[in-house]
């Protein structure tokens, strides 16, 4: 049971870490808390589901691309202009939640189904020390960790990655030095939404995807990111894995209904002890 709990927790944490990464990338670079990314990600999940019978690879690419484009555009035409006029966190909370409701409505209008399940190949099963795990779940976890590594490598070794770092560390100087910070913001927002979409796709194939799942993914992603140290990518993933474990074990030991009580109790406790999160953050909300 112990091993089973650990594995379930790791996988849950791994999937959750994708929207967490999305939040971390967007907040870390733009300084804007975007609560709509979960809903946008779920829209991508529904789009993928729609095209799934056509071709799986194409369907996933379309879903992710749709989310990237939505993220890019809302940053460009809405969030960056508001930020330049000095919008604060409260304003962004209200605006991005409203954006989330807009997309929730769009999902309901286009896909009149309460929930969907994405049938993706299970990639066999793997036996880990006596516990049988679906290959697909292992893939989901590895994918999440791989994404983290790719993002870190991009940051260290590519011009766009260095521009991200520069923009997040000193926006004014980044502009003066000649970085197109508006484009950096838009790309960050696009990538954040695309990551949320991947998270939604995994979620939709392991459990099922409802319109409201977007809020779960978005808010949980945000809370987990804050616990890890918002904007801190490593903190985010560590926090996601810990939270996955907490959910898994509290589910096993106390039953599913206690999961969220334990989870959010721990969240509050961590934030009282370390208001800037486990690994700390350069920015604060």
């Amino acid at each position: 049971m112990l091993l089973n709990g650990i594995i379930t927790g790791l996988i849950m944490g791994g999937i959750l870490s994708l929207p967490v990464l999305g939040v971390a990338v967007i907040y870390g670079i733009t300084g804007i808390p975007n609560f709509a990314i979960g809903v946008i990600g779920v829209l991508g999940g529904f789009v993928t589901w729609y095209f799934l019978s056509f071709n799986m690879g194409v369907a996933i690419v379309i879903g992710i691309a749709v989310c990237f484009i939505i993220g890019y555009i809302i940053q460009r035409i809405l969030l960056t202009p508001i930020s330049e006029r000095g919008g604060d966190s409260t304003l962004f909370f209200i605006i991005t939640v409203s954006v989330g409701f807009v997309f929730e409505g769009i999902i309901r209008a286009i896909f009149p189904r309460p929930n969907i399940s994405l049938e993706l190949p299970r990639i066999g099963t793997i036996n880990l020390a006596g516990v049988t795990v679906e290959g697909f779940k292992i893939f989901a976890l590895l994918f999440a960790l791989g994404t983290l590594v790719v993002i870190r490598l991009l940051e260290e070794h590519t011009e766009i990655g260095k521009s991200w770092q520069a923009t997040s560390q000193n926006l004014k100087l980044a502009k003066l030095i000649g970085i197109n910070t508006n484009r950096v913001f838009s790309i960050a927002s696009g990538i954040g939404c695309a990551l949320a979409c991947v998270g939604a796709i995994f979620w939709g194939s392991l459990y099922n995807l409802q319109v409201s799942t977007g809020w779960d993914l978005g808010f949980m992603g945000f809370i987990i990111a804050v616990v890890g140290g918002i904007g801190n990518i490593w903190g985010g993933i560590i926090s996601a894995l810990i939270m996955g474990m907490v959910m898994s074990f509290s589910g096993y030991l106390l039953g599913g209904e206690w999961q969220s009580v334990i989870l959010y109790f721990i969240v509050i406790l961590v934030l009282i002890i370390a208001p800037k999160g486990i690994l700390g953050s350069e920015r604060s909300l």
Partner: protein, 238 residues
């Protein structure tokens, strides 16, 4: 007479309703060090930020390399060849010295980049020694050198520097100013710097005296006496 590469006429900029600079006329030629001198609150920073585009102006024209740029955003002015080294927040604090310099060459073509960075290391050998160090752990003087270094690697035709001497020990000020002079001689570029330090007289070709948002004098340095500049710093030129 040669046309200046940077020419400003009737420039007015405000903070709220209070105008920080009023109807300023200013110009700079190629291969020249121009000092903007004046006491605190004279409007030196406002003037530099208006030229760089990080502050919105109310009135006036800015003519640079044959273009009217007063309505351009920062990035476009930067691409044409203007770079401001601000007084504070002038390095990327969590990056190493090396990475700071690597990011600042972003607009230069690849062939030039290494040469620009090597030139900064040649001017400031301490930055080469400290190249792996994170910028916000450098001393104040070293950070200032890095900030000027970022201005150099930007390869801009006109480098605007906001009070580089502030917070530096007198010996370092002399060294920094000598380096700026060497940069001008090596690169044939234009350096515009605001200052409150009297040593500016040793390096500037021309000085603009700024007081309460207005130009008080515009003179070749050799025609100015130390006393006039000192009086201006104390805020009593008339």
């Amino acid at each position: 007479m040669i046309e200046p590469i940077l020419k400003i006429t009737g420039l007015t900029a405000c903070y709220g309703k209070i105008s920080a600079i009023k109807a300023i006329n200013f110009y700079a030629h190629d291969n020249e060090i121009v000092g903007i001198v004046g006491p605190n609150g004279a409007g030196k920073t406002t003037l530099l930020e208006s030229i760089a585009g990080s502050m919105r102006i109310k009135n006036g024209r800015i003519f640079f390399l044959g273009r009217h740029i007063e309505k351009w955003p920062v990035l476009k002015r930067r691409q044409l060849g203007l770079m401001l080294v601000p007084q504070e927040g002038n390095v990327f604090p969590m990056m190493s010295v090396k990475k700071n310099l690597e990011i600042s060459v972003i607009l230069s073509n690849r062939a030039e980049r290494k040469g620009l960075i090597d030139y900064v290391y040649e001017l400031f050998p301490i930055l080469w020694e400290r190249r792996k160090q994170i910028a916000n752990t450098l001393s104040g003087g070293q950070q200032k050198m890095l900030a000027v270094g970022l201005g150099i690697t930007s390869n801009a035709r006109v480098m605007l520097i906001d009070e580089p001497s502030i917070g530096l020990a007198p010996k370092l000020v002399t060294r920094l100013f000598e380096t700026l002079k060497k940069i001008k001689e090596d690169t044939k570029k234009t350096i515009v710097l605001s200052e409150q330090n009297i040593k500016i007289l040793n390096i500037a070709d021309r000085l603009f005296g700024l007081e309460a948002g207005k130009i008080r004098f515009d003179e070749k340095t050799k025609n100015l006496s130390r006393d006039i500049v000192k009086d201006l710093y104390l805020g009593s030129i008339s």
